[in-house]
């Protein structure tokens, strides 16, 4: 009897533990490759800066900027002055210590080439390279979203806006103390511009941007001249010409530019141009950087920066909470509430100008989504607010465009808004020739309407969206099949146009000029490499082409606003919402704050953080 009672008690304890441990499924995010791909939009160089999407402040939702708006002036080229690092740390902090940053992914940067190829350009590469490689001619202010002078102290622009002459400032040095000259800027651009058509794996990820450059030469040791092939919008031009970082030519020219087996600098760079230099590189374990005493802006306050992977997305926040690490630049949405309420960490939350947005993508090459009526009906059948709550814990803002609302210059707030209205959806279908036979919607051919929603199983939010669509569209009499695929299989299906609806996510990284999104919407054989829905509208092609070459911002804005309206009318995608961003640091990190972009570490901000004085 006693034995039996003992067994029963033990069983009860086990069951209770099992129930307690069961909870929300661990959310998954898109693989790093997806995030990296979106980060790559518009990237031209190791500093990962790109064309600004607006000259004026799009930072209405940003935290306090490093410089008060209006307190400084741009020159005639619209470029603001350089800001050097402060000499003393923030109040209450000291120099020294190690800042440990943990990522959301299990794979760290696999190489640290300053001009990475398509495969090596990952989110983790950006984390590390942002601090190894700097001294770009111009820097992008992540708070105010405009350009500043960096390694260049002066810029002259030709009257045809095609030639940009940069004068280097004095005192530029690599981490080994050797001077940085104009040739050190020219060399990497020459190399990275080479297009290996036989093996695109050898190409620089931003090669399409560099291919806008006609000539990139050193006039003398302190002057770099960049001539574009055509006149471009100022922000794009400055990005292509000014965002390139130098590489020590006398060192690198001994080796092939790409090829880890023959170029030891790719895996273990001995000479760098940024605020930090490489101390330790352990594959998938940790990457440690130490301060570069020769950096022209000054020295970072932390002696070392350590970058760590995270086997699971939730581990990043847990490790910061436990005090094992200092900073997680992104955390899982399911931990948002706890992180926000946790007084033991510093929690940052903001809406960035380049936030990730989610959308529903239609395959317009076949029925039923070759029919605008069906697309509009689906748009009206989606309660986006409810969907945001269900799949992303409500952590976002509704969106009607690929351009973020924070980007006031180009954003069109007046596009058609497809409000949630099932009755309207039904009416549209009826007017479109669809009939309801009992609970089943039938098409014009008399057959029941049925289609498949495909999504990658690595993304829990998209799985929830798929389920929502299935339930929601059932109310219109439509049978929806949900097809979750492992990511590679999902990509294969989408590339082969073997889907009806795909659930996508884009954005992220540095602010892409709207020009960076054109590959999603222009006709496929006209450069629409990301247009996997069979959408083609010659007017869209024409407008993107004009907007990409128009130098006047106001005129460009007109083009982009028209593009957004047409997309809203044609509805190749239904934009759902933009996600908010959030990060955490431990309390002993002084000076940490978010900027107007989606990552706190942009603009060399980690150099300005410091450990609390003990």
């Amino acid at each position: 009897m006693k034995k039996r009672l003992f067994h029963l008690i033990l069983l009860a304890v086990l069951v209770a533990s099992l129930l307690a441990a069961c909870g929300d499924s661990t959310p998954t995010t898109a693989p790093a490759t997806t995030a990296a791909g979106t980060t790559a939009a518009g990237a031209t160089s190791a500093a990962a800066t790109s064309a600004a999407s607006a000259t004026a402040a799009s930072a209405t939702t940003a935290a306090a900027t490093t410089v008060a708006a209006g307190s400084e002036k741009a020159d005639a080229n619209g470029i603001y002055p350089l800001i050097k690092y402060p000499v003393t740390p923030p109040q209450g902090a000291q120099k020294g210590g190690d800042l440990r940053q943990v990522s959301l992914t299990k794979q760290l940067a696999v190489s640290v080439h300053p001009y990475p190829n398509n495969v090596d350009y990952t989110a983790s590469w950006t984390d590390v390279a942002s601090y190894l490689f700097g001294s770009a001619l111009l820097d992008y202010d992540a708070f105010n979203l405009y350009w500043r002078y960096g390694a260049a102290e002066k810029l002259e622009v030709s009257s045809d806006n095609k030639t940009f002459t940069f004068t280097l400032r004095d005192g530029l040095k690599f981490s080994d103390g050797s001077p940085i000259t104009a040739e050190d800027f020219v060399y990497p651009v020459e190399q990275a511009s080479k297009d290996d058509k036989e093996n695109p794996d050898n190409n620089f990820v931003g090669i399409d941007n560099l291919q806008n450059i006609e000539k990139f030469v050193a006039k003398d040791s302190k002057t770099v001249v960049c001539t574009l092939k055509t006149q471009l919008p100022n922000n794009l031009a400055l990005s292509y010409c000014g965002a390139n970082t130098p590489i020590k030519k006398s060192l690198w020219s001994q080796y092939p530019f790409y090829g880890t087996d023959k170029n030891p600098e790719i895996l273990k760079p001995t000479v760098t141009s940024g605020p930090y230099k490489l101390k330790t590189f352990s594959l998938d374990e940790k990457i440690i950087l130490e301060t570069n005493p020769n950096y022209y802006k000054g020295q970072g306050f932390y002696n070392t920066l350590t970058f760590l992977p995270s086997a699971q997305p939730t581990n990043a926040y847990e490790s910061v909470k436990a005090g094992q690490n200092n900073y997680a630049d992104d955390i899982s949405p399911t931990q948002y509430n706890e992180a926000k309420a946790n007084q033991a960490v510093q929690f940052f939350e903001w809406t960035s100008a380049n936030g990730t947005y989610r959308y529903i993508e239609f395959n317009m090459t076949r029925a039923p989504f070759n029919d605008i009526a069906m697309r509009k009906a689906v748009a009206h059948a989606v309660d986006r607010a409810a969907l945001l709550k269900a799949s992303d814990n409500g952590l976002g803002a509704l969106s009607n465009s690929f351009i973020q609302a924070a980007n006031k210059t180009f954003y069109n707030p007046n596009v058609t808004n497809y409000a949630y209205d099932l009755n309207k959806a039904r009416q549209i279908l009826k007017d479109g020739g669809y009939t309801l036979d009992g609970d089943t919607l039938k098409g014009k051919d008399g057959k029941p309407v049925e289609f498949t929603v495909v999504y990658p199983t690595s993304s829990n939010p998209r799985k929830l969206q798929a389920t929502y669509l299935q339930q929601q569209l059932k109310q219109l009499g439509i049978k929806v099949n949900v097809d979750g695929q492992e990511f590679n299989a999902y990509v294969a299906k989408v590339n082969a146009l073997d889907y009806d609806i795909s659930l996508g996510a884009s954005g992220g990284g540095i602010p892409a000029d709207p020009d960076g999104s054109k590959s999603y919407f222009i006709t496929k054989d006209k450069g629409g490499t990301q247009n996997r829905k069979g959408y083609s509208n010659p007017k869209i092609d024409e407008l993107f082409d004009k907007a990409g070459t128009e130098p006047q911002t106001a005129k460009r804005a007109e083009y982009y606003k028209e593009i957004q309206q047409i997309l809203s009318d044609d509805l190749p995608v239904v934009f759902l919402y933009t996600l908010i961003d959030f990060s955490v640091t431990t309390k002993d990190v002084v000076g940490s704050k978010n900027n107007a972009l989606d990552r706190m570490y942009y603009d060399e901000q980690l150099s300005l953080w410091a450990p609390k004085t003990k």
Partner: protein, 314 residues
Amino acid sequence: MTHFIIRRIIQSLLLLWAVMTLSFILTRIAPGGPEAIYFENRNIGPEEIAAIRRARGLDDPWFVQYFTWLWQTITFDFGVAYSYARRPVSEVIWTKLGPTFQLGLISYLIGLIGIPLGIYAARHRGKFGDNAVRIFTVVGSAVPTFWLGLVVIIILVNTFKWFPQGQGEGGPLSWFVHIIIPAFILSSGAMVAFTRFVRSETIETLSQDYVRTAKAKGISEKQIRNWHVLRNSLIPVVTLLGALLPTVVSGAAIIEAIFNWPGMGQLFITAAAARDYSILMAILLMGTFLTILGTFLADIAYGWVDPRIRYERS
């Protein structure tokens, strides 16, 4: 014995070839390919994907790909790891082997605790000690290791902060504190297996006539246990030891993922997700080879432990 060994070597090589051929086919027919990594890259369209596949030999006829891989494997050329900046596969695996070997070896040694546990349970059959051990083995068999790992992390790592995650960076103490929890959880399966096997074998051996005779002759309990019972009870353990050998170096994907351990298991998952065929095939080859080797060594040891077993030419 020599004939047996030669025959087993030939059989092992054939088995290795068959398993690897099947692995080659399965990895190639899985949907999708390495092009998924370029999904959001606007520079990479269908033409570029085609060029990349050509450069990697992925568009060659299947038999060309197969024999190219087979020849390279025979000559110990495992190719380059495309998802690791085209480092040699051997270099990538070598960097992951250390953490996995540490974790595997420690868990292997912890698992051996099941042997004295099984003997203890057998000797105290029907008593509290035996019941406790039996409950432990039942629970250990039923509870999935991933669940156990997550619960341990929630309670011991995140709540009480008694143990950290990842690999230790300090001295031996830091290393031990970091490794002990994942090693213990990884060892649970082996420990349960050893306990159950040894317990049942020991109980059977204890009931043998020669043991009763030894007791009747007045031989001490200790001598009976060490000379008569233990050696006979350990025969099935030899088999288990061989079967568990591959885990020391092939990694435990789930435990490594949960505990942020940068070993072979995580490498396999990363390579599978990226369709990095070179790494996948190299790891599969290693795992298969070790499994066959472990079984082979177990068979040899079997003959040594039990003199009744002779591998003679039939």
